[in-house]
Amino acid sequence: MTHVATTERDAPARAPAAPAKRWEVRLPPPRMILAGQVILLVAILGLWQIAISLGWIEAYLYGKPIGIFVTGWEMMRSGTLFRDMGLTAFEAVSGFLIGTISGSVIGLALWLTPTGSAILRPYMIALNGLPKIALGPLIIIWFGIGLGSKVALAALITFIVALIAAQQGAREVDSDLVKLMRSLGASRLRTWRTVIVPGAMPWIVSAFRLNVGFALIGAVVGEYIASNQGLGYMIAYAGTLYDLDAVWVGIAALMVVALLMYGAIDWCERRLIRA
């Protein structure tokens, strides 16, 4: 600790040296960053609108920003946008919770049964490599075209991801820690509770992040395949009508849902991993 203090006190004396300065990273204040982010968005939309107005690209193939705002505003006023967003978010969140929680618990529990893990290993590798949306048609047949099939698809995809992450996380815990617990006379279950579960937590939480995306994929693809409501349905339907403004509204709404879910995950992460 004294070391750090000394270095800091020494630093100003060395600061004028040019090579040291070249690598100094200093971010502007958050307000400036936010301003930059807004400017970037406005610039992209502005360029896009200009390109449409000047006839460089066709509005019916790309949509146009002003049209997107108008369509979006109408959908918000009629309430259909919020209904679709709510539905898709509900499917994604319920699928996420069911799949991620059960996958994490089972993945961690596999540490307790090395024989079971060894037997399951090739199947898990195969499942991990499988593009999970290929299971979509099966799920629709089993769970129908309603809400259930979307939740089930999102749950299935996130289950596999969480299962593999949790199992891997449990395996990555320092084997010397396991030996230490053994030397202290701890049972396997005790070691699991005290060392494996908390030690695997960073892996599990990083799978939460991946799973936000996967849960939305599950919900939206489910709606693409068979549905009559939700953002996925709305995007697919608008696409068949060449109503690209509406497609963009749907995409933007999905991004908002994803951002909200990531925000919630950030909040959980801060509570679960206190470093």
Partner: protein, 257 residues
């Protein structure tokens, strides 16, 4: 002082490998007397880690066996490694009570024991700190407290200071030796650092290259409380011990070349 608390009798270890059996440990026997620090010094590759695993009971030897005179069944050996193995999500005090907790002691009672240790050995005020905020030397102090709180019959130290800087290592060698004698513990120190062995141990066993055997047993005549780092290095006996162990360790290498 003369009752052996741990006896290793004719320990030998042969591993099966693809190219036939490999003899890691030839024949190692020793007694650890009560209250003593015994150092096992050997060149790298002399099977120190194998010996460590045999003493802790993590590995069964091919020949011979370890007997521990202890009334407690199991968990007779507490160990400390180069890695401190602290749980980063637990506070210092909750790391110290790990062994007691496993044994089923109530948390409050365990914490009281841990608090005494922490205060006695210079980490007062850091009870609730996370290991990540401590220096390497402080972390190793917590690790030795975790071992002692558990009250094992024998403390096994496997190169516990080799990851630390010279100054911290020197201070900690002294501290840990003092803590062990204050707590009336018997300890085995496995190391390749000759100076460390002379600083800490009452007796040193010099091991040969693999298949390892004991090539010399040496009593360190300098009283333990007279071994501060400066005094030691100007003590002629320290140099004599150092030179003779050094020469012992050279023998097999010269023979092989």
């Amino acid at each position: 002082m003369n009752t052996p608390i741990l006896s290793a009798a004719g320990i030998g270890m042969t591993f099966e490998s693809a190219s036939g059996p490999v003899e890691a440990i030839g024949n190692v026997s020793f007694d650890l007397r009560e209250g003593e620090i015994l150092a096992l010094v050997g060149p790298s590759g002399c099977g120190k880690t194998t010996l460590f695993n045999i003493i802790t009971g993590l590995l069964a030897p091919s020949r011979g066996g370890i007997t521990i005179a202890s009334d407690r069944a199991g968990q007779d050996v507490g160990y400390m490694l180069q890695k401190d193995l602290l749980l980063p999500w637990r506070s210092v005090i909750d790391n110290v009570i790990l062994g007691l907790e496993v044994r089923g002691m109530a948390r409050d009672k365990a914490r009281a024991i841990a608090r005494d240790l922490i205060e006695a050995y210079g980490l007062k005020g850091f009870e609730d700190a996370r290991p990540g905020t401590l220096s390497g030397g402080m972390r190793q102090r917590v690790a030795i407290m975790r071992t002692l709180a558990f009250d094992p019959a024998v403390v096994l130290l496997d190169e516990p200071f080799s990851a630390l800087d010279f100054q911290t290592r020197t201070l900690l060698q002294q501290d840990v030796a003092r803590i062990i004698s204050e707590r009336r513990k018997s300890a085995i120190l496995i190391t390749h650092d000759i100076g460390e062995a002379i600083t800490m141990a009452d007796r040193i066993l010099v091991l040969s290259n693999r298949p390892s055997t004991v090539i010399r047993t040496m009593d360190i005549q300098i009283p333990r409380d007279a071994r501060d780092p400066v005094a030691l290095r100007s003590d002629q006996r320290y140099n004599d011990y150092f030179v003779s162990i050094w020469q012992d360790l050279q023998l097999p290498v010269v023979g092989a070349a």
